[in-house]
Symmetry: C2
Subunit: 383 residues, 2 copies
Amino acid sequence: MKNESTAPAPQSDAAAEALSRFHAVIPAGGVGTRLWPLSRAAAPKFLHDLTGSGQTLIRATWDRLEPLAGAGMMVVTGQVHRDAVARQLPELGEDDFVLEPEPKDSAAAIGLAAAILSLRDPDTIMGSFAADQVISPLEDFQKVVEEAVVTAATGKIVTIGITPTHPATGFGYIRRGRSLRLQDAPHAFDVAAFVEKPDAKVAAQYVRSGKYLWNAGMFVAPVTLMLQHLEEHEPELHAGLMAIAQAWDTDRRQEVLAEVWPTLKKTAIDYAVAEPAAAAGDVAVVPGDFTWDDVGDFAAIARLNPVKDGSGITVIGDTPRVYSSEASGVVVTDSDRVIALIGIEDVVVVDTGDALLVTTTDRAQDVKKAVESLKAEGADDVL
Amino acid sequence: MKNESTAPAPQSDAAAEALSRFHAVIPAGGVGTRLWPLSRAAAPKFLHDLTGSGQTLIRATWDRLEPLAGAGMMVVTGQVHRDAVARQLPELGEDDFVLEPEPKDSAAAIGLAAAILSLRDPDTIMGSFAADQVISPLEDFQKVVEEAVVTAATGKIVTIGITPTHPATGFGYIRRGRSLRLQDAPHAFDVAAFVEKPDAKVAAQYVRSGKYLWNAGMFVAPVTLMLQHLEEHEPELHAGLMAIAQAWDTDRRQEVLAEVWPTLKKTAIDYAVAEPAAAAGDVAVVPGDFTWDDVGDFAAIARLNPVKDGSGITVIGDTPRVYSSEASGVVVTDSDRVIALIGIEDVVVVDTGDALLVTTTDRAQDVKKAVESLKAEGADDVL
């Protein structure tokens, strides 16, 4: 419990009680295609240090949550990442290390966590926090999570919505409704609606209104309430997950997992639980004013990392030897090659052993298309 | 003599006689700093295939000249390049393989060739042709060289001047004077003057006038006339070179070379011979209408190489795997890494084992400055 000292003292007895039932779940999936060739199937985004902090994103996610999670920590990831994740999180227990035989989207991943936790203790409040986000300051985040846990304890699925800093078109938004007027969670609101990624004009209206928050995919909820909505909207998926959960803490875990998992429906937790629950009035939101970034592309990496002493270039890498002249942008390298950039603005150079990407921060989103083209051309060895 | 079939039949008996005394000399020096990191101290420009022809520049230079050179071929290069040059030119005899212990500029390199050849046969006509130029078509070049050899046989130092295709500011120019009215060399003119690299306005005037030619550094001359001017203008250098030449075809070659070479003055053949000889009325020029490029930078490589099937990208490399989307420019690679270029115009990417360059064709000339900076920073391992 070396990080416990970083946990804030609970604001109230109610908060202390709710936090004691709080089990944090970290789904670690998603290759982060827009960060190719740094991030790829064998070394996805969450296994990288993208902020120069010295920590991988998954380790930083763990350290943010562990001090709050009175009931424990769980990670859900692909079997192929088992060893890499274990190296990052040596304290993660075998029973809380959920390894998916194949990707089945977020409803199955988070639903299985809910099912396992519910059978161990139906009073558990779970929180789901993706492994590949960058958040600061820590204290602000932890206060918001605490309010979310307190709010969840009143019988709500609680999303954490990020106060937008600009009219982003790459995120879904949450429209908040009325205050829930909770004594121990003064910033909790009803969710009026989840809305899809808007165009630029609509996004600007959202930001101006002050009523919209970015949907960062973070939520906190009683496991029983999660499973109730899942059962109602995806009964077969629910049944499959419960079957695996019943075998989980027995010697039949692998057998049942291998048998049932491949049969499960692929769907997002948003469709399977969050949106129907919002329509039923069961979803709340706590706004977060902390800085949040999902490090979606190399433009984000340029944004999140300081430029090296007057060079105009952000450098990410262990032993970089970067020379630049009238150049700006970001260089990510895992080699000690000399990299010389001359007269090129907002460039993105990602230098790995078997693949090199050169683009601009403006075109950072298009890396995904390039990866799709490479796949179509059979370049799977570098994807 | 496998390439003899590509030699044109001499135009006249006089031409045949002059060509029988013609010994072609290829000075292979110059790192080609603007082509770093492809070209570098250990692997200079002339050892690369920069046109996708399948031949290195020095091999192509040899093949252009060998059919004409009735008296033989000679190469002057650095001792460090001995093995690489020998692999390129297996037919080069030991006595015509002049290895400089250290670089001493062009007057020493070409002067030593002249001195050695003059002692073997004072009637020799030498021609000096840099190892790192790209020329086509072959037939046009060979006709011009033949005229130059015929003109040299009348007692002239004959430069080959390239008819300019645009007002280049990167070359010196030759102003031609009157026709020499030689029956067997109808295109030979007196040289009125050599002029330094002009600015853009002056260059445009030169091109408009029709009287100026690019100085490509190619010349043909009787060895005795070369040495006469060298002796007059650089007597110490001449004496040193003659001392080495006297030992050359003896068992004291290495001993004298090692003793004398380090003492020689560094100066360019232009200053030591060509310009004083022009002032004395001893220099002629034969214009060449062939395409000529000194492959001075990566913009030249982009210019000289066809773009790959509709991709917008020129690719130079053995096993390239280049993917591009809305990108143009040139990629030079000696690896089989995947290289992805997205949304970037006129880019130059040079991908080598220990160094990577990213710039634009517009900034291709600035590569030299980058190399100087790298040198100043102690990155000699990649230079």
